[in-house]
Assembly symmetry: C2
Homo-oligomer: 346 residues x 2
């Protein structure tokens, strides 16, 4: 047994010298033996971050077995799934197989859970070579184990929803919770969600309305998504624009909403949306960046270069109660549910 005491942040499993937090680490200790405050999960499925999966897909030109080999190599080398290019990971679902005697998480052996902390800081061992995955979808069937720390967050999967659906909702549950909090700071605001037909986007639209937005607007890249979002009935306006084209995005948002948005929520996983989001937002408005493809310097310098007095938030994936809130929104809005179920089938 080790001599090192555990830290709720997982610091005791960091192998880098000098020590950094698990998320920043090159390599984690993946031993199966638990520290007293840890929990071990038997993994059933990984859900890769969309930006990460797309980067892998692009790099290997859609060759699924090359994508699979790279994921295996990353996890073997780092002891966690963290795409070195995008810095992002994803989440997982599995069953609790061991609980340390002083774990504060309230889980018991046999609970079926989804982790709400990123794979980028979760010790992970893959034991089946991902043999059941074709490398062509971000949903990865997997046998292996993962470790949760004292301060990790995991949610028991509810009985009334299909597990894949719960997992997909929990994966993006930070977005609606933070959107609702920010929308409440304004008086009957206009809210624009870039990528409104996606998972985090549709939940954010529902959250914005729930939190008192006067009008909610969803931006989508093409007609098929526009039809989906219009059919879901969760946006007052659905507009088609390329979010990477700042002038086109600004013009589309202001025309549909009768002016710029008070709150703009960026939920698309493509780089280069910072300028358009800033230009679409009113003075003293707020842009919330949830996309992992966001560039810090593009946002900071973009706003400065445009002399735009907007508040720009790094989308924090953690807000207390976020998983329960997102599941509630899904249950309350058939349109959100249909978008999620449509994507799962697609």
């Amino acid at each position: 047994m080790t001599q090192v005491a555990s830290d709720p942040t997982g610091l005791h499993r960091v192998l880098d010298e000098p020590a950094v937090l698990p998320q920043a680490a090159q390599r984690l200790d993946t031993r199966a033996e638990l520290w007293p405050d840890e929990v071990r999960i038997r993994v059933e499925r990984l859900n890769l971050d969309a930006a990460s999966f797309r980067q892998l897909e692009r790099t290997h030109e859609g060759d699924g077995s090359a994508v699979r080999d790279e994921v295996l190599a990353i996890v073997a080398a780092r002891g966690k799934m963290q795409n070195p290019e995008t810095g992002s990971g994803g989440m997982l679902v599995g069953t609790v197989e061991a609980v340390g005697e002083s774990s504060p998480l309230g889980l018991k052996v046999g609970d079926r859970v989804a982790t709400l902390v990123s794979l980028t800081l979760t010790p992970l061992v893959i034991e089946d070579g991902l043999a059941r995955w074709d490398g062509r979808s971000e949903q990865v069937p997997c046998d292996g184990y993962a470790v949760l720390f004292g301060r990790s967050i995991a949610a028991v999967i509810p009985d009334d929803l299909a597990p894949e659906l719960s997992l997909a909702v929990m994966d993006v549950c930070g977005a609606p919770a933070l959107t609702a909090r920010i929308v409440r700071q304004y008086d009957a605001p206009t809210v624009a969600v870039i990528g409104g037909a996606g998972k985090s986007g549709s939940l954010s639209l529902a959250a914005a309305r729930d939190a008192g937005a006067a009008q909610v607007l969803g931006v989508v890249p093409h007609q098929a998504e526009a039809d989906l979002l219009t059919g879901a009935g969760i946006a007052d306006h659905v507009v088609i624009a390329d979010a990477r084209d700042p002038i086109a995005l600004r013009d589309a948002v202001t025309r549909a909403a009768g002016g710029p948005a008070d709150v703009t929520v960026v939920c698309v996983d493509v780089p280069g949306c910072e300028g358009g989001a800033i230009l679409s937002t009113a003075e003293r408005g707020t842009v919330i960046f949830f996309s992992m493809a966001t560039s810090f310097s593009a946002a900071a310098l973009g706003a400065e270069g445009l002399a735009a007095d907007v508040t720009m938030l790094v989308g924090n994936g953690y807000v207390p109660g976020h998983a329960a809130y997102a599941l509630e929104l899904l249950r309350a809005h058939d349109g959100v549910r249909s978008l999620f179920e449509g994507r799962a089938r697609g």
Copy 2:
């Protein structure tokens, strides 16, 4: 004369296809001829962004002439000074040499100005090969010209301060203005400034006190900086910690301040400070990231991984009135002025 109409954002000078905003562009049109809403500046000095300059210095192992050659190559290729690695630029000082007939900036020929928009979106031509620069300092004597757009921001350099001092203050003037705005949202908060002895850091400390902070704390990397900051008398507590070591930073801040900070301001130009800043901040507190070395994904995933309910802001370099406010703080605080003058000499 061109057929393209000008846009206040400078879009008409972007050579990329499809068009992006000037800051995101690979290449700008640097023709000396002005569109009607533009202003041409005769450049006297460039002030490279600190993160950019350090990256160049590291890459070329301190070889000044190699650093100079790379800056010349970047500006020749892109028509602007934007470090491809850091994405950042800097600012410039010069004299107005031509004003378009419909420029809204209120400048006249002969005004000595500093640009408050980034070099990353400012068309720039260097005409002297940077012959007077040894490549060893971020202050670059330069002859050439630059172009301002309708929405660019430039400030006339005040008469009562040395031009180098005004320039150094204006370069970081977004930090104190945004810090003051956020500090006012809390009731007598504790404010920690990481990199408190630096330019943006010392102004942010002064701004925090000015805006009603109950206690202000400056974090510095070693004893020499601690002595400087203590001597300046602008912080209630001066603590030494490596900001890249999250646990050390958290422990140093909470020990000195009697608990975590309500507002943490990150002003150091080194990567890897996200985790420590998050851990040093109280629940429902705010972290403001001003460093261009900030990683968006490290911040987003770090907070999520630590289950930290903190608001994280991308430090927007533009807040109305920012230059005047920063100059006022400098005039009012001898300690801030002494730190700036000490750095200029060093």
